[in-house]
């Protein structure tokens, strides 16, 4: 008792010691702290620094992507009070930055769930942006003592992980699903929690698609190095060695599958991603073979071999982009793969055999 008393005088000294959300003092985006009955809450900036921009660029290229996260907990933006709205989000730093930069001039609380550094939509699919985590985070932060209202604003894309009525039953907080894009939050709040149909519809613009392609390209490059290793070994015994033209043919098929197909996605005829990739891969391969003058009897084996293997490679890589898309269903992907995977495998094996025969026998 005595010890506590001495600690707690002067009044409020204890509050300064208790952190609702621990944070790194070096983080530029924390500008101060706000004192609440539950302890001090970090106040965050709406400005994006060079470090934030550079960090975003790095994760887009797959560098440190799985560990780009902030501490979960409660944050304050502006000077919120007990009546200010509570926005819920994920602890992926890219998500957090995309949210806070849209909130300048607002006064609100931001409750960050521990999604293991994954964005809201993917985390909701996995269940880490979910009912249990939300309920426990509300309890841990003492949110019901900090705000006097009983409303949480969740991103709409968090809905696959959260059972709104169960959150209400367990915590008393009602869940309002806000707009999909952070950009629309201000007008959503200004209009008294009304989201238009447009705000509720997910899009997949050419820019949305292009920012996802570097990660695909980097992932493929790792496997490509192995392919080049095999080329090199074969060259030691080959009658026709692999050269620059073969490298360009291969690299072109990779870029067609990982970058060009995603970029042109809606305008390529057909619906299945593997088909779209195969079609563009065929155009690329046929064009390149023609350009090299390989459509002659001497190179026919090589030409047919590449026409079998390279479009299949583009098809496979394009098929993997289903995981990045915003509109492919599980059942659809299964349907597509049951047809595409055997065809890709057969075509690739046949193609590789023909190319090898040409290389080794010339």
């Amino acid at each position: 008792m005595n010890k506590e008393k001495s600690c707690c005088s002067p009044v409020n000294a204890c509050y300064a010691e208790v952190l609702v959300t621990p944070h790194n003092q070096k983080d530029e985006w924390v500008t101060g702290e706000i004192h609440t009955s539950q302890g001090s809450v970090p106040v965050i900036s709406t400005d994006i620094s060079f470090e934030d921009t550079f960090g975003a660029w790095k994760v887009r290229w797959g560098i440190g992507r799985m560990n780009y996260r902030i501490n979960p907990g409660l944050y304050a933006l502006g000077q919120p009070d007990h009546k200010s709205p509570v926005l819920v989000s994920a602890n992926y730093k890219l998500t957090f930055d995309a949210l806070r930069k849209e909130l300048s001039g607002l006064h609100c609380w931001i409750l960050i769930l521990d999604t293991k550094g994954i964005n809201v939509w993917c985390a909701a699919g996995k269940g880490t942006f979910g009912t249990d985590e939300l309920v426990s985070r509300i309890t841990k932060t003492g949110l019901s003592e900090i705000v006097s209202h009983k409303t949480l604003v969740l991103p709409q894309l968090g809905a696959p992980g959260v059972r709104a009525h169960e959150v209400t039953r367990r915590t008393g907080f009602s869940v309002v699903y806000g707009p999909i894009r952070a950009h629309d939050i201000k007008s959503f709040l200004d209009s008294g929690f009304k989201a238009t149909q447009e705000m509720r519809t997910v899009k997949f613009t050419v820019w949305d698609r292009l920012v996802l392609t570097p990660v695909e390209l980097v992932a493929t490059t790792k496997y490509s190095l192995m392919v080049f290793g095999v080329f090199f070994i074969i060259n030691l015994i080959a009658a026709r060695t692999f050269g620059l033209a073969d490298f360009i043919a291969y690299a072109g098929a990779v870029v067609t599958g990982t970058v060009v197909t995603p970029a042109l996605l809606p305008i390529i005829p057909g619906r299945a991603f593997a088909w779209k990739g195969w079609l563009l891969g065929l155009l690329w391969t046929a064009g390149f073979i023609w350009f090299n003058g390989w459509f002659v009897p001497e190179f026919l084996l090589l030409a047919i071999g590449y026409l079998l293997v390279l479009p299949s490679l583009s098809a496979f890589l394009a098929m993997n982009f289903t995981g990045s898309s915003t509109y492919t269903s599980f059942s659809g992907v299964i349907r597509e793969m049951k047809i595409a995977v055997p065809l890709i495998a057969l075509s690739s094996i046949a193609g590789i055999l023909l190319v090898l025969i040409k290389s080794l026998s010339a």
Partner: protein, 97 residues
């Protein structure tokens, strides 16, 4: 240009007799699959469904069923190889949802 995936594959079902038209499903659906009419919800665009499961999860009377899963070929391949349910476990690096 509207993004459309394969036709007639979505596993989305709506049990009409349970539905009381609260419209929560229409609110959370990112592809505007549902429409609320006369205090009843109707599936307007089944082929637009990406099986994210948001509607079923948030339906207070469990009137919606859908086999929710990750629409991700990489996850499916890993599922086939490891003999487990496809999961969007991105921590292995490489591709992710």
């Amino acid at each position: 240009m509207k993004d459309r995936y394969l036709r007639n594959v979505a596993t989305l079902r709506l049990l009409d007799e349970k539905c009381f038209g609260c419209g929560r499903c229409a609110e959370v659906c990112p592809h505007r699959v549902f429409i609320v009419e006369d205090k009843k919800v109707r599936i307007k665009d089944k082929d637009g469904c990406m099986e994210c499961g948001a509607c079923a999860k948030n339906c207070p009377v469990n009137a919606i069923t859908v086999k929710a899963g990750v629409g991700c070929a990489y996850a499916v391949i890993m599922g086939w190889l490891t003999g487990s349910e496809p999961s969007c476990d991105c921590s292995g690096g490489g591709e992710c949802c």
